[in-house]
Amino acid sequence: MAHSNWAEWIYLGVVTALLIYVGAEAWNVERIIDHAPEDAEIIKVTAQQWFWSFEHEDGTKEVGELHLKKDHAYKFEIQSKDVVHNFNIPEFVVLMDAIPGRINTVWFSPNEAGEFDIQCREYCGLIHYNMRAKLFVEGV
């Protein structure tokens, strides 16, 4: 059946252009946030069924809570002792899997003081729903 398809081509062009825009923008943002700043303080995060423990650069250890300073860059080195977990601070879009046998890194710089939630976002068993910790960001 002969019929003109110009409308479909225009429509596909618009869709493709939108996708290229979204893809390029995503690529650009990710490129910038992929690298942690040089002066970021390293925090070791250890996940295990079903709690979080943290170790600061100076050797201070915390379990179930984490104390950080506002406007200071932190780089998390995340590992797991048993199964796969996911370290997540929803308020600051910090999200990275904690995988046994690997160390994953993610960084952030809290721009707000207060008390925030840390949670596990990858299914890890019985108490997954309550594998939570508290983040305290202190103003300078």
């Binding site: 996708l19 995503a26 796969v84 939630d117």
Partner: protein
């Protein structure tokens, strides 16, 4: 076509038949049964999440078992068999062959499903349908996990057998006068989705065996304590199950290609663009699996590659949507129940696709990953698009199967409830995900926004439930007491189309349909 109820036969004759309409009927009845079982599980989950604290389910283990069984049931026991049901009914007719290429294999493929369902339902594993190691290797309780693994193994083989059957039927048994380009789009959808299954499923079959030997302790493929790598499982799993999403959605789109031109009383806008879009989707479905794994610590380059691969699937999906809209444009549309489900399914398909673009844009994925956004997103696909297409097609086939009409008024009520319920439930889940609620949690802290949105989602789920109960009642009542259908044109559309009932079941004897 079959008129099962107009000419009743003893049930064993249908069960042991290898005729494609009989096997199709078995698939259909089983898949609808599984839909109600899986739906009941979903309702239990939603009642539990209605508010913080214990509502219905006493402990998290039961909850975890239920969401695992819900996901497994809906994907493997409802959506895949219901697509196979439609394919069994219509593919041989569309390629003008007397039956499927291998009728006995066809019956075997179906009869592998009930035992597999028994394994899944009696075992009730707790690791999610994704069975992620090392949890599934070192922590998951024993008989349940093995039963799930064996059940899925059987289902995978069944799905491979039925795919072989579809591919051979379409390519080798089609009428010599019918060129492949002229094969109806519904049959094309089964050809492409079956080829995807054949290419993708063996990977998961291997991963399941490796998971089993890991659990037995004789290997350590995915167990870091034995030098293995859990991420390897993620790759194997998603290499099968990202294409599997297209295995589910492509037949649903094929069903819409059957319904929409007929109820718009216009030929399809572009047959060749539909075929092209199916082929493109089948190819690019293999280029995007690792977009499920951005948060496993992938490098920037890997993430970029899989983002581009994922975005590449969007234009092909958009071609289908365009094809539907262009077919309906200026058509004399009759909004009977099947058409409503098809059009509603397109609308939700569009919304689901737009959400998918957000998921794959790398920085945004870190907001949505493993949150309720993802739950809402894929439910828009599996319920909003695939189940809508399937249920619309069940209404469409109903007069051909039973010889009677369903009640149109109650069909419309079902559609309205399903559509409104789906919008309330799944769009709210998207927003709840943006507020940070993780998926697969049994209970949640008392955060105001989470409480109100969870209550709203549970109300939406109840609306869907009411619609589904109406659906069930309508089917059962109309089978026995519905108006006899005019089989020449049950929906009063006029015009000349071939209708599926033209196929004869030899078991109905001479002169019967």
């Amino acid at each position: 076509m079959v008129l099962e109820l107009a000419r009743p036969r003893p049930i064993w004759q249908i069960m042991f038949s290898t005729h494609h309409t009989d096997v199709g009927l078995l698939y259909l009845v089983f898949s609808l049964l599984a839909m109600f079982v899986g739906g009941a599980m979903a309702i239990a989950l939603r009642i539990e999440l209605f508010a913080p604290g214990i509502q219905l389910i006493e402990d998290s283990m039961t909850y975890n078992r239920l969401f695992t069984a819900h996901g497994t049931t809906m994907i493997f026991l409802f959506l895949l068999p219901s697509a196979a049901a439609v394919g069994n009914y219509l593919v041989p007719i569309m390629v003008r062959y007397k039956d499927m290429a291998y009728p006995k294999l066809n019956a075997i493929a179906f009869w592998m499903i009930p035992p597999a369902a028994a394994l899944v339902w009696l075992g009730m594993a707790d690791f999610g349908w994704y069975a992620n190691p090392p949890y599934s290797v070192i922590s998951a309780p024993a008989p349940a996990a093995e039963m799930w693994i064996f059940g899925l193994k059987v289902l995978g083989v069944s799905s491979i057998l039925s795919s072989i059957n579809f591919v051979v039927t379409i390519l080798k048994c089609k009428h010599p006068d019918l060129s492949l380009g002229k094969v109806p789009l519904l049959a094309w959808s089964f050809l492409t989705s079956s080829i995807i299954v054949l290419a993708a499923m063996p990977t998961f079959a291997a991963a399941l065996l490796m998971l089993l030997t890991d659990r037995l302790g004789v290997s350590g493929f995915f167990n870091p304590a034995m030098g293995g790598d859990p991420i390897a499982y993620s790759h194997l799993f998603w290499f099968t199950f990202h294409p599997e999403v297209y295995v589910l959605v492509i037949p649903a789109i094929g069903m819409m290609y059957e319904i929409i031109p007929r109820f718009s009383r216009r030929p399809i806008f572009s047959h060749s663009s539909g075929v092209a879009a199916f082929i493109i989707l089948a190819l690019v479905s293999f280029a995007s699996w690792a977009h499920h794994m951005f948060a496993t610590g992938m490098s920037f380059t890997e993430k970029t590659v899989f983002m581009v691969g994922t975005l590449a699937a969007v234009p092909a999906s958009a071609m289908h949507v365009f094809n539907f809209l262009a077919t309906m444009w200026n058509g004399r549309i009759k909004f009977a129940t099947p058409m409503m489900f098809a059009v509603g399914g397109i609308a939700l398909f569009f919304a689901a696709g737009a959400g998918g673009v957000v998921n794959t844009a790398m920085p945004l994925d870190f907001i949505t990953h493993d949150s309720y956004w993802v739950v809402g997103h894929f439910h828009l696909f599996v319920f909003g698009t695939i189940a809508f297409g399937t249920i619309g097609f069940v209404y469409y086939l109903f007069p051909y199967i039973t010889g009677r009409m369903y009640n149109e008024k109650w069909g419309v009520v079902h559609f309205i409830l399903a559509f409104v319920g789906a919008c309330i439930t799944f769009f709210t889940q998207h927003i709840l995900g943006l507020f940070g609620m993780p998926r697969r949690i049994y209970d949640y802290p008392e955060i105001d926004s989470w409480i109100s949105m969870n209550a709203l989602i549970s109300v939406g789920a109840m609306i869907i439930l009411v619609g589904m109960v109406i659906f069930l009642g309508n089917m059962i009542y109309s089978m026995a007491k519905g108006k006899p259908a005019n089989l020449e044109d049950p929906f009063g559309l006029g015009g000349k189309y071939y209708y599926p009932f033209a196929q004869r079941n030899p078991q109905h004897g001479e002169g019967g349909y």
